[in-house]
Amino acid sequence: MLSNASSKKIPAAVIRVEDLWCGYPGRSVLKGISFQVERGEFIGLLGPNGSGKTTLLLTLSGVIPFQSGQVEVMQQPILQLRHKDRARRMAVVGQESTVRFPFECEEVVRMGRYPHQNRWQLGNAIDAKIVKKAMHLTDTEALSDRLITAISGGERQRVSMAKALAQETPILLLDEATSAMDIHRKLQVFRVLNTLNRDEGLTVISVLHDINLAALFCRRLLLLKEGLILADDQTEKVMTSETLKRVYDAEVLVHEVAETGKRQVVFLP
């Protein structure tokens, strides 16, 4: 009875990183970082340029190997997962990418279904429905027949987001995924992510440069600097002028906006 109650209290970690060292020969980018992510969290990954944010995301998604430590995704070491299994657990929206071949946007979104598809039986009605839903959520339906090579950077990022949503994974990693969008689109995308996070328990980990955007949507912040975690806590606890000053080496004012109840940051010149 007691054990049952306590096991209910300990939520299953969807990502567990332990003493992760990662980098290139002769230079470590991540220097022994550890953290856990539980199901349904909305985490912002912040830090100055070169602090290792992108490297961390690429390691988590199994694209680059690491030097030592452990990375587990849903209780399994990342390196033991088969490629398609990994892509069924985790989708990634990367920094702006150039697609060289003129695929229609809808076809690019359809590629998100790849990890779920069997080689000989492709594109059934369920796939079509999921693709449609993903395009609806990202407001990309109007782009479906346009060529991916002929749309703007912000539009391409939305198509990328739709592709990741079509992957239907429990974990979503974003690396500056809204950097080329205008503020209206940024908010729109994050509102959708917020809804998915709340209603479907989607775990979101997002690299962001915009601290104020992070403060609006992320419930937990991880601050990285020079390959180390400087702070890892609830957003309100991390968003203090002392902590941010330590990370960014800049004078910072932190205000609480009465209307939203969220903290916002002003950097001083």
């Binding site: 490629h83 990994r86 892509a87 069924r88 990634v92 990367g94 071949f101 695929f103 590629m111 080689r119």
Partner: protein, 375 residues
Amino acid sequence: MKSEIRNAGNRWRADRTAQKSHWLSVSNFRLCCTVGFFYWLAALVVIGLTAFLTSGIGSFETPYRIIWRLWLSPFHPSWAEGIDETVRYIVINVRLARICLALTVGGALALAGAVYQGVLLNPLADPFTLGVSTGAAFGASLYILFGWGGGHLLGMSTLPIAAFVGALAALYLVYLLGRVDGRIHTTTLVLAGIIVSTFLSAWIGVLKSLNEDSVSTIVFWVMGSLSGKSWGHVLLVLPYLAAGGAMIIYYARELDLLTLGDVQAQQLGVNVQQIRFRLMLAASLVTAVAVAVSGVIGFVGLVVPHLVRLALGPHHRRLLPAVFLVGALLLLLSDTLARSFLPNGQELPVGVVTAILGGPFFCYLMLHRKKYLQL
């Protein structure tokens, strides 16, 4: 009461339109399939017709009513009754064999080009610009120089294997040369390919002068020719082409995903390293076997994938079969020109013809479609 009737009427109309649009969408789908099937059928008919027409071209004049009967004679010998044996031999064993070889070689080269362009994300990649063709020719001529050219293994000629080894060695060399700071650049890779290609061409010349008799004319290896080929050569190509082609078609969907770049393909669940390696192997095998029977024929692998991509879009499931067919047709036409353009039975190397046909098209791409080529 009135409004109720109106509502019922509206509902009925709504049902009708729903049914109608449903019915329409299903029929649209069927129509698309039928149209798609029709296009493939039309392509095959065009190729068959071209093959039929070109089998009547040559220094030995043969009327088409005889050729028609000869084409049917393998199905029933009675069709060939009363036709001179020499005529039968020329049409079936000389011309038709050469036509079939042109079709397979052209298809193989174009297919390999499409794979190289997709895997390397390089619009300038093809068997020739990557040095693979010349590598294969060098491997094959070295093999012949050592006197192993007639070797057989399990009933299949081993010459394509020697060409394959040469192709892989050249590709590896180009890959090493073309890397700058661990990354492959579009232009450096092609530059490396041209250098390796030129270097190996020179060595083929050396091999040729070492032994005039065994290594056939240098023009054959460097410019390509299908002259004097028989059904034996077609049978030699087919098993290797089938193996390589099957591998390529098997990974058609992965080729689509690879065009998004390594990182994205990996994150979508593609085993990038393994599949790229296998695709490069398959494309090199297909190239090698084509080169082993026809020498180095340029431009087919470069131009045809671009041409088809402009028409059909980049989806590899559709692109690859179409590229094979168009490549086959293009080389058949080029070879027909090569063997009939000059008087008195003289021949042009077929590589000359493909370059003359392909060059202007590529110039057009460079001048007007720079954005498409992304140079």
